[in-house]
């Protein structure tokens, strides 16, 4: 989904529309240096709304920037070559998308060997769900070193709040790929949160063959969640579940008449998951842009800039799914929700 859809939705909400860039002139409030900057972007699935927000924000500030973009397309074997290229080109800023790309560029913060990593250039990450657990930074408030960035998912507490606001349940099921570090980290957090709220968490890890999950197992996994009493299916920031095989996951859940919640919005927007609580990718892109300006224009050290996420999250509801499941959102949630019909 692109920002165009967002704009269309926004214009639906507030009656009329105009281009994103309209009215942008004169809205900058940071002094503009005269030099050109080079930003090296390391992406995992090509340019998306996130990058559009990032670039828009920098463009509005009046900076002249040359972007050098490298996309792994999910192939992590390309990463060492990309890191080598960064070291040779020495850009003004390195932008990394996603946990694998960021880990490959900056390494675990406690690894004493700086050799394979970029430690002497500012690195700005985005779309990393749990930078602490992934050892990208030792702390969020003052991350230290040459790294800072933005988190794209809402805190687990806010996610569980949203789930319970939609539907008061006792048993939450989670299907995940145990080979993905992100998923395991979120699982840990979800276990704690459920225990705190006296919710039962039904865990359904995808079986691994040669360390990889098989998409054919998805319908059976989800059916098992239903059999074990799951009332709602939680989908974390798991590439296998909510990106690569999102259509199969959403369809299987619908077949089992199991409502689904996702921590990212793609599976709701383009497949048939029920609802999500997530950051607007465009907004996350803008927030990342704010931090880029702090580094490039204000000259602040990345290690002193807080790693953070948005303060407000978007609720996205797939109303077609809601109708099919007869699982309607409460009015209080609907008032703040974006609605899609897929």
């Amino acid at each position: 989904m692109t920002a165009l859809t967002r704009r269309r939705w926004l214009h639906w909400g507030i009656a009329t529309g105009a281009g994103l860039m309209a009215g942008a002139a004169g809205a900058q409030d940071t002094p503009t240096p005269s030099r050109r900057f080079r930003i090296f972007m390391v992406l995992g699935r090509g340019e998306g709304t996130n990058e559009q927000g990032f670039k828009d924000h920098l463009a509005r500030s009046g900076l002249e920037i040359d972007y050098i973009t490298r996309n792994t397309g999910g192939d992590s074997s390309l990463l060492p070559g990309i890191v080598k290229e960064i070291k040779e080109l020495r850009p003004d800023l390195v932008y990394t998308w996603g946990t694998p790309q960021t880990r490959a560029v900056v390494g675990p913060w406690d690894d004493p060997d700086p050799g394979p990593y970029v430690r002497d250039l500012p690195v700005l990450f985005t779309y990393v769900a749990t930078p602490l657990d992934a050892k990208i930074v030792p702390q969020l408030e003052r991350p230290g070193g040459n790294v800072t960035g933005t988190i794209h998912i809402a805190p687990i507490t806010a996610q569980v709040n949203a789930i319970l606001a939609y539907r008061p349940i006792r048993r939450l099921a989670m299907v995940f790929n145990p080979a993905e570090r992100n998923s395991l980290l979120v699982l840990e957090e979800l276990r704690d949160e459920c225990a705190r709220r006296d919710l039962e968490l039904i865990e359904a890890p995808a079986p691994l063959t040669d360390g990889k999950p098989d998409p054919a197992d998805i319908p059976h996994l989800i059916a098992q969640c239903r059999v074990r009493g799951g009332e709602l299916l939680y989908l974390g920031p798991d590439t296998f579940i909510t990106t690569t095989h999102r259509h199969e996951v959403a369809a299987a859940a619908l077949a089992e008449r199991l409502p689904t919640f996702s921590a990212t919005e793609l599976i709701v927007r383009s497949s048939r998951a029920l609802f999500s609580l997530s950051s607007s990718p465009y907004g996350i892109g803008r927030l990342t842009g704010v931090k880029a300006l702090q580094i490039l224009v204000e000259g602040r050290a990345p290690g002193e800039i807080q790693v953070e996420t948005l303060r407000r999250f978007s609720i996205l509801i797939n109303m077609a799914t809601a109708r099919e499941l007869s699982c309607y959102p409460p009015l209080s949630l609907l008032n703040f929700a974006e609605v899609v019909e897929v």
Binding site: R6, L10, H11, G13, I14, A15, T16, G17, A18, L20, M21, A22, G23, A24, A27, D29, G53, R60, S279, S280, Y282, G283, I284, G285, R286, L287, V290, E308, L310, R311, R312, F313, S314, M319, A322, R323, S326, Y328, P329, P330, L331, S332, L333, L334, N335, F336, V339
Partner: protein, 831 residues
């Protein structure tokens, strides 16, 4: 004597008629101001719905990561919102104040936003306009600008002017009828009190003092006061009812308009859900949303969603019985106290939304008004009582002697047969003392909170000190001005001393009113304290001058009575004036009162009065010198125990709670100054009610120590409600009980001091001088201790902790003190 009685009737009638007319006028003005505010609140609430909707839409766009300037679609949303009645324009500006969107196209791009229009966060009334604004934050939590609604109150003002005119038309005949009724009633009262006036005249004429169970003059004045109370109650109630009735006509249409606004918000939400194909019967959370709106708007009693066949699908609240609108049409309608709105899906009528106003809301909202009118009545009655006492004495004085006022005789009891032309009727002292104390008491509800607002001018001074220091300094200056002031007033004469005191006090109050710096504020408060202390000690000096041993206690009781009456009237009057006008006005009123007090005394005090007594009203020096008296007292363990574990803690609690913590904690819970004043009034009211009983019983049962211990424990019990409940009645009850508890201690303390003085062979006046000085120093310590305690907890907990100090001290006093005998003495209530 018949001609004299007619003159008396005329005077008394005039005083009471003036009191009644003033009170009714005040009640009507108060009612008007209250309803004006209420109407503005309702209008503000209605416009806030518009503002909230614009903010919600704007922030939804911002959450997506868009910049404020990019939300082009907002212009249309603003246009739609600006269709609400009274809205003049809606602007959205960025953090630099540059208007990005406006319903007036020529304003876009200008910097005419927040600062030029005078917006503040929240609501502000500027002459004929109401300004409301809310900040706008983006998804990163940053404030990126604000939205402001400017409304024109022209329509409301016209309606209000109409009400004002009608009220005036009804009020004038009412006041005339009240005056006639008053004069008639006073005439009848005096006629049926003929025997009393004759007896009183007999007393004044100098015959043998008749053996009557009660003072005939007081009986007469009490009877007249009762008449005044009855007239005031009936007429004020009538005036309030009249105002209520007039205002309902303006208020209800405005309430209906607001209810329609709430209905619009709800229908927009529900219609959106219906538009998505969600069946109304299966829409979750409907009742919750209705409940939220009912609780957010106290004027709405009931909201329901009804099907087309009038089955209630969801509802919240109690539907009033008077509801009249039936769902027999296909369009929204409003009549009486109900509003009916349509719920549609794709233009197809699906259901009804029903909103019912609370018919008793206006009456419920008038509780505040009723309490304020009651306070005004109480003040009027007390003032009338003081003036009547003066007028009756003045009249009888003249009737009996034909000489200048004020030369009758102390306490109106010249039974000696030998007229002393230099004597001074101490009844004449009451009104000046009352007015003078009133000048200071009117400031009581706001001194600490005002100091709090001035605190930023002295950033180097800790906030706790900034709040408590003005009261502490006032108490210190007052305490030390007593012995020095006594000498001063003896030296330059009572009349000149009182005039000097009034000038100092008035000057202090005027300068306090002008200052906006904390240091100057404290300096001028000290000047006021100097005048206050000097005036009180001069008044005591007059009592001592014009009384002898056998009637001195009664003379002092007169003086204390005036002090307490001012304590009842002052805070509540000051609170009302500060709320309706300003703190500056209240302080200036105080200055006028101080000068009036001096003027009144100058008129009443004979120019060549009795040669003033060599006895000072207060002395810290005994025959053996300054150190001798104090040394004897300081070596007496019982005196030390009494001071340390009763007198000082009691005053610490009194000033700490009443003058310092109470205004702060009530302001924190959103109370206005009138409410603070009303609560402070309870202290004095219950002190007055409880002290005669306490003094009599402690004398009769000879258990002064028991009363002192009981009073200390009662202080603890009294302050407990402050810590136990957040309800509005908590402070009210606590302060009332606190006043009663302090009354238990006051008289027995003084009796013990005089008794100890006799036992250790120190002059009574010296012992009392030290006792008063020490307890006032305790009073000065009170605010510091209170705020110190509050620094680590809350105002409420600090008050309870002060209660614990009193309770604990009482127990220690019980352990240390041995039983002593007593002698009755007057008491002092001033905290």
């Amino acid at each position: 004597m018949t001609g004299g009685r007619h003159a008396l009737t005329g005077w008394v009638g005039a005083v009471i008629a003036l009191t009644v007319a003033t009170t009714i006028a005040l009640a009507l003005i108060l009612a008007f101001l209250k309803f004006d505010q209420r109407l503005l609140d309702v209008t503000g609430d209605r416009l806030e719905l518009v503002l909230e909707e614009v903010r919600r839409q704007t922030e939804t766009g911002l959450t997506l990561g868009l910049e404020l300037a990019e939300l082009e679609g907002l212009s249309a949303a603003l246009e739609r919102a600006a269709q609400a009645r009274d809205v003049e324009r809606i602007d959205i500006w960025d953090t630099q104040g540059r208007i990005l969107f406006s319903t007036q196209a020529d304003r876009v791009g200008t910097h005419e936003g927040a600062s030029a229009d005078g917006y503040v966060d929240g609501r502000r009334r500027l002459e004929n306009n109401l300004l409301l604004s809310l900040p706008l934050t983006n998804g990163f939590g940053q404030t990126v600008g604000a939205v402001g609604v400017r409304a024109c109150l022209g329509t409301l003002q016209r309606a209000l002017a109409e009400v004002r005119g009608e009220l005036l038309v009804s009020a004038i005949p009412m006041v005339v009828i009240a005056l006639v009724l008053t004069l008639m009633t006073v005439f009848l009262t005096l006629r049926f009190s003929g025997a009393l006036t004759r007896q009183a005249g007999g007393v004044i004429r100098g015959g043998d003092r008749p053996r009557m169970p009660r003072d005939p003059l007081r009986t007469l004045v009490f009877r007249l006061t009762a008449v005044t109370v009855a007239l005031l109650l009936i007429l004020s109630l009538l005036a309030s009812w009249l105002a209520l009735h007039q205002f309902e006509r303006v208020l209800f249409p405005e309430l209906r308009l607001k209810a329609q606004g709430v209905a619009e918000v709800l229908t927009r939400q529900i219609n959106r859900a219906l538009g998505f194909g969600i069946p109304l019967a299966e829409l979750p959370g409907l009742t919750g949303v209705l409940a939220k709106e009912v609780s957010a708007h106290p004027d709405i009693a009931y909201i329901a969603v009804e099907t087309l066949d009038q089955k209630v699908l969801a509802s919240h609240g109690q539907r009033p019985k008077l509801a009249v609108v039936t769902a027999d049409a296909t369009t929204a309608s409003a009549a009486g106290q109900e509003t009916l709105a349509t719920l549609t899906a794709h233009d197809h009528l699906e259901a009804w939304l029903r909103l019912s106003l609370d018919p008793s809301w206006v009456a419920k909202a008038s509780t505040d008004l009723i309490l304020e009118v009651a306070s005004v009545i109480l003040i009027s009655v007390l003032v009338a009582f003081e003036v009547l006492l003066l007028v009756v004495h003045l009249f009888l004085d003249r009737a009996s002697t034909g000489v200048n006022p004020g030369t009758g005789g102390a306490l109106g009891e010249q039974g000696s047969g030998q007229r002393d032309v230099h004597s001074f009727n101490l009844m004449f002292l009451r009104l000046p003392v009352f007015l003078f104390c009133l000048s200071e008491e009117v400031t009581r509800p706001f001194i600490p909170t005002h100091a709090q607002t001035l605190a930023p001018t002295t950033p180097w001074l800790p906030l706790d000190l900034a709040v408590s220091l003005p009261i502490t300094l006032f108490m210190l200056i007052w305490a030390f001005s007593q012995p020095l002031g006594a000498q001063f007033s003896g030296w330059i004469g009572r009349r000149a001393a009182f005039a000097t005191a009034a000038l100092l006090s008035a000057l202090g109050l005027i300068l306090t009113a002008q200052t906006d710096h904390l240091l100057a504020f404290m300096a001028w408060r000290c000047l006021t304290a100097l005048g206050y202390g000097l005036a009180l000690i001069t008044a005591q000096g007059l009592v001592v001058d014009h009384t002898k041993g056998h009637n001195r206690a009664r003379g002092l009781a007169l003086y204390i009575g005036a002090l307490l009456a001012a304590g009842v009237c002052g805070p509540v009057a000051g609170g009302i004036i500060a709320d309706q006008a300003s703190i500056t006005t209240t302080l200036l009123v105080g200055a006028v009162l101080a000068l009036t007090a001096a003027g009144t005394l100058a008129l009443l005090l004979p120019k060549k009065g009795r040669p003033e007594s060599r006895n000072s009203p207060v002395s810290l020096v005994s025959s053996g010198g300054l150190s001798s008296g104090f040394a004897k007292l300081a070596m007496d363990l019982r005196f030390i125990a009494l001071m340390t574990f009763s007198a000082i803690p009691a005053k610490v609690a009194a000033t700490g709670v009443l003058s310092c913590l109470l205004p702060l904690l009530l302001t924190d819970s959103g109370a206005d100054k009138a409410e603070i004043g009303r609560t402070q009034m309870m202290y004095f009211l219950f002190f007055i009610l409880a002290s005669p009983l306490a003094a009599n019983l402690s004398d009769r049962w000879q258990i002064r120590r028991g009363f002192i211990i009981g009073g200390g424990l009662a202080t603890l019990a009294a302050l407990l409600p402050l810590g136990m409940t957040d309800q509005a009645w908590g402070p009210f009850l606590a302060i009332a009980l606190f006043g009663a508890a302090q009354a238990l201690i006051s008289a027995p303390q003084l009796s013990l001091v005089t008794q100890l003085a006799a036992q250790v062979r120190v002059a009574e006046i010296t012992a009392i001088g030290w006792y008063r000085l020490l307890e006032r120093l305790g009073g000065a310590l009170g605010p510091l201790v209170a705020i110190g305690l509050a620094a680590n907890s809350s105002y409420r907990e600090a008050a309870v902790n002060l209660g614990l100090v009193c309770g604990g001290s009482a127990l220690l006093f019980w352990l240390l003190f041995r039983r002593v005998r007593h002698a009755p003495q007057p008491l002092e209530a001033q905290p």
